[in-house]
Symmetry: D2
Subunit: 116 residues, 4 copies
């Protein structure tokens, strides 16, 4: 369980205590999510073939991954909080929409989606 | 509350039913998070000055934002699930680390962080 | 004049001398361009309103900007070289296509493009 | 040869004819480069292993790649033009700096750079 209300409240206090709310515009938060996403991607920048999941188990890689995922999560919680969006509901809707968009019987064993 | 275990399980079934697990390498999921983050950013690409939060309240912008935030959330939940990372704990650790890194009394009313 | 043939040849030698050609797959180079683009963006991450061009004239900002632009340019020259794409011709075509897509008389003084 | 002065002049006229110069702030152009970079990356989003260069030779992939590379090139030329940066010189400096940073004898046949 991710207690996003509690995390959002912590981020709200954090920003208020530093008077940083003024920096948290939609464009700046969206920018920040992109930057953190690129930092996650950088961990896998030069992999030949593909690094597999057991490589992520390496403690030094794992702790970097953990940190970048946390940064991204915190920024999307902050973005959702500032804009009054219910993340849980948005995620559930999206899963339901994807089930309609990609019917299992049609896409099973196929990478068609990935070529479109 | 974001029930990330339930969402992770739904994503697991979703991938299994379509035999898409093979595509969900660390690099591909990190790539996907960056792509979705850029789609969120695109909503604010050309804003002069900064679009403010009341503009995000516009229903057509809001529903795009909601969708992109959901995509990002689902991909980080999937990434965390594949790598056995506890997102809730990672987020709490990160907030604690930030409190140490940016002491309120030193950064209050200042944008020094942003210039460093 | 950007002598992209000369720069491409220099990058080719650089990779050959280090046996790095094996890392320069399409996906890895595309990943690298995204990462460098995010580093450029990071310079403007927290700007309130928008930093204007005179702020980029600040020597420390300017030298960071210069470095990130160079990184991006070198990676797209490398990508074009590996895939046999003529960048000059591609850029000219794109300008011509944009002139058709956004007729001046229809878009003049309007930010419609930016709202679409 | 990429005639960046000619391309910069074309972009200048293009923006002037549409009164779009006002949108071309440093942050907006940096944002645009990131978005175009993500569109290039999207072409390779789901590749298992790595797509190789002969796959980029496929006409439909190639034409998308060409378009995204052109977009990125045009935006960095525009960014350099607005900030008075000499791209050719920046690229030459960067190659020289990389030669110092990664001595061939130390990095040859090694992917150490990529693990750092």
């Amino acid at each position: 369980m991710i207690d996003n209300q509690k995390l959002a409240a912590a981020l709200r206090s954090f920003a208020a205590e530093r008077a940083w709310d003024q920096f948290h515009t939609p464009k700046n938060l969206a920018t920040s999510i992109s930057i953190e996403a690129a930092e996650l991607l950088e961990i896998f920048q030069w992999s030949r073939g593909q690094q597999e999941w057991d490589e992520v188990a390496d403690p030094s890689i794992r702790s970097k991954v953990e940190e970048e995922l946390a940064d991204i999560l915190l920024y999307i919680i902050r973005f959702a909080d500032k804009s009054g969006i219910d993340l849980e509901r948005a995620a559930e809707r999206k899963i339901a929409a994807n089930a309609v968009k990609y019917p299992a019987e049609r896409f099973r064993g196929s990478d068609r989606k990935y070529d479109e």
